[in-house]
Amino acid sequence: MAGLTLNHLYKRYDNSGKKKKIKNDFAVKDLNLVCEQGEFVALLGPSGCGKTTTLRMIAGLEEITDGEIFIGDRLVNKLHPKDRNIGLAFEDYAMYPPLNVYGNVAFNMRAKGVPKEEIDRKVREIAPLMQIDDLLDKMPVKLSGGQKQRVNIARAIIREPELLLMDEPLSHLDGKARQAMRTEIKRLINKIKCTTVYVTHDQLEAMSLADKIAIINFGVLQQFGTPTEVYDDPANEFVASFIGEPPMNILETTIINKDGTFFFTFEDSNLQIAVPKRYYSVVSDGFRCKMGVRPMDVLIGGPDSQGTSEEIATFENLGDERRIGVRVGDVLMMLITEDEKRYKRGDVIKLEVREEKTHLFDIETGDRIREKN
């Protein structure tokens, strides 16, 4: 059974009151998504892409312009948020300051008139799970950011919701706390096996937490797949450059035919990369497109390498790894190496590219160009 189904979901904000007509006024446009029971799905995109709007529509906090939302088998379009059986852990979903942690976690059940012993049993059950057992008597103001988030999530899951919705729960935490909390969330969701929709703009968070990632831009779903799928097989240029850090190198290229072998060539550069054989059916001499390759798949060749000689524009020693930038035309092409050798600006290296790892994108639309079967 699917945990959550979004069917042709639209959201349009009513702009009639505003003087300025916004051209594309769909915040969410024809969104289709099926999350399996117990799956952890991340909605990922830059700010203003419509991911939070989608979440708010699922929660019932935002009206739906068109489409259907199913939680389990129930059509919830017309249901009030409190009747949708969902748990919310929002970034700004503040705690009630006059209540201690226990009171905050219990608040919802108290409001519903659940018997006292039942509430107490449940709170005691969930507290160790979220590691807030020692915090139950504390007041919200005394908690650290990470602790607040744990209480927040405890409050969301105590009702045993069918669906857990989280909106950037980690964005207020700083580096180390954020990483630690990420691990905790992952373990917790793994334990309670609740279908979860998680909104974030941080691709790393989505990559490390989610079973599946829905990448959204301008209200339109770009790709929906597992982290590995979106990383290795991006649907278009947007996904390719949004996922991964440093981002994929994407360069405009003209393909030339040299004695039956196709090569990527680049303006103002003598770099040439062989086109993988599988693309021969779609390319031709003089074909213009964009080529993408991840920095991990660009290598430094040995002394007898066939690669093109290139001058190093930037060399960054990051301790764990080293990043090298090479100018290809006016684009800085990055490569990552764990090789211990120290280079400096101006050194010449042989550049090799794992040809089979290159992707082709349409020069106009940015859509992926795939080989024909």
């Binding site: 691990t183 373990r187 990559m207």
Partner: protein, 387 residues
């Protein structure tokens, strides 16, 4: 352009001792990074150099000149503030021209225009000159703040976390650009950051600051490979270095380290390394802390010779690679793995530590004692110095 020296600088805010005897010597044209956790006093050091903060004790010298009593306007420094501090009522152009229009650093309008044109080109912001700061994104504001400093020819550039407010991706790409620009800067630069990648990538030398004191000064490689204590070791590297306790016991021809994994004692042979062995003998070492970087921890999901058993605490991607965290009782072990593995949480994992990459720390003081292959890393660090 000048050499910047601070000698035993102290500064307190009320009862808080923000700086507690800071001594640094920044060479002319050096890119010097001040690195440490939030609240360590890094910004206060910059403020003392700029003259915004007055140290209670100690000397601030530019070249041979003592600057303690010189006001900020007369020190001829260019500063990039963490919150950019752009003048909101002025266009980007006027912001950048501000210093060159002051009485002290006056330049003709033609010269100003020329300098701004150059700086705007360097920072790739030619199209922003007519805008107001409120119309800029954070990344653009950061460029403007840098550009405003670049138009000047100061004694020193002071940069206070200029990339901190950008999101991870923009930060990394800006760092790369800054690195490329650095060569053209040709000027002394003191750069504050709490991001170890920025520190490593940009700094000719790095000073680690904690609680108002200097912990270590050295090149990136020195600090990364030979951290002076566990605090420094933990600051450098992502994911963090693994540090755990061990007892050392002599064997027939060498030494063993015994560590505790989930209540079980595991014996690991310490490979032969004259330098390490002599340090162990010298100290009569019984207990120590072992530091090992995640890339030197190997894993297997099948039992294997020389591997010990543990359970997976978490498995998550950190970008182009992933981290497996294994539960070992009192501590956890982080190790690098490729993306896209099918790893069940709480399943078994078998671990091998590459003992010829470890760093030994003192059990009590947490100070650096010795590491394997020390000589070659000293040579590596020195090769950088020569440049």
């Amino acid at each position: 352009m000048a050499r910047i020296q601070l000698e035993n600088v102290k500064k307190a805010f009320g009862k808080v001792q923000a700086l507690d005897g800071i001594t640094i010597d920044v060479k002319d044209k050096e890119f010097f990074v001040l690195f440490g956790p939030a609240g360590a006093g890094k910004t206060t050091i910059l403020n003392c150099i700029a003259g915004i903060a007055m140290p209670e004790e100690g000397v601030v010298k530019f070249g041979d000149e003592v600057m303690n009593l010189t006001d900020p306007a007369h020190r001829n420094v260019a500063m990039v503030f963490e919150n950019y501090a752009l003048y909101p009522q002025m266009t980007v152009y006027d912001n950048m021209a501000s210093a060159l229009r002051s009485k002290l650093y006056k330049a003709s309008e033609e010269e100003i225009a020329e300098r701004i044109k150059w700086a705007a080109k360097t920072m790739k912001m030619e199209n922003l000159l007519e805008r107001l700061p409120s119309q800029l994104s954070n990344g653009q504001k950061q460029r403007v703040a840098m550009g405003r400093a670049l138009v000047r020819t100061p004694n020193v550039f002071l940069m206070d976390e200029p990339l901190a407010h950008l999101d991870a991706k923009l930060r990394n790409s800006m760092r790369t650009e800054l690195k490329e620009m650095q060569a053209n800067l040709g000027s002394t630069c003191i750069y504050v950051t709490h991001d170890f990648m920025e520190a490593m990538a940009l700094g000719d030398r790095i000073a680690i600051i904690n609680k108002g004191k200097i912990v270590q000064i050295g090149t990136g490689d020195e600090i990364y490979y030979m951290p002076c204590n566990e605090f420094t070791a933990q600051l450098m590297g992502e994911p963090q270095i693994n540090i755990f306790e061990a007892t050392v016991a002599a064997t027939n021809d060498g030494f063993d380290a015994k560590i505790n994994v989930c209540g079980e004692e595991i014996t690991l042979a310490l490979p032969k390394d004259d330098n390490v062995y002599s340090k162990i003998k010298e100290q009569g070492m019984v207990r120590c802390d072992i530091g090992i970087r995640p890339q030197n921890v190997k894993y297997s999901f099948e039992p294997k010779e020389g591997y010990f058993k543990s359970t997976v605490y978490s498995y998550e991607s950190i970008g182009n690679k992933s981290v497996i965290v294994a539960e070992c009782g009192d501590y956890q072990l982080r190790m690098i793995a490729p993306n896209g593995l099918n790893v069940e949480i709480d399943s078994d994992v078998y671990i091998k530590l590459e003992m010829d990459h470890i760093i030994l720390f003192d059990f009590e003081s947490k100070e650096y004692i010795v590491r394997y292959d020390e000589a070659s890393f000293i040579a590596l660090a020195a090769s950088k110095e020569e440049e």
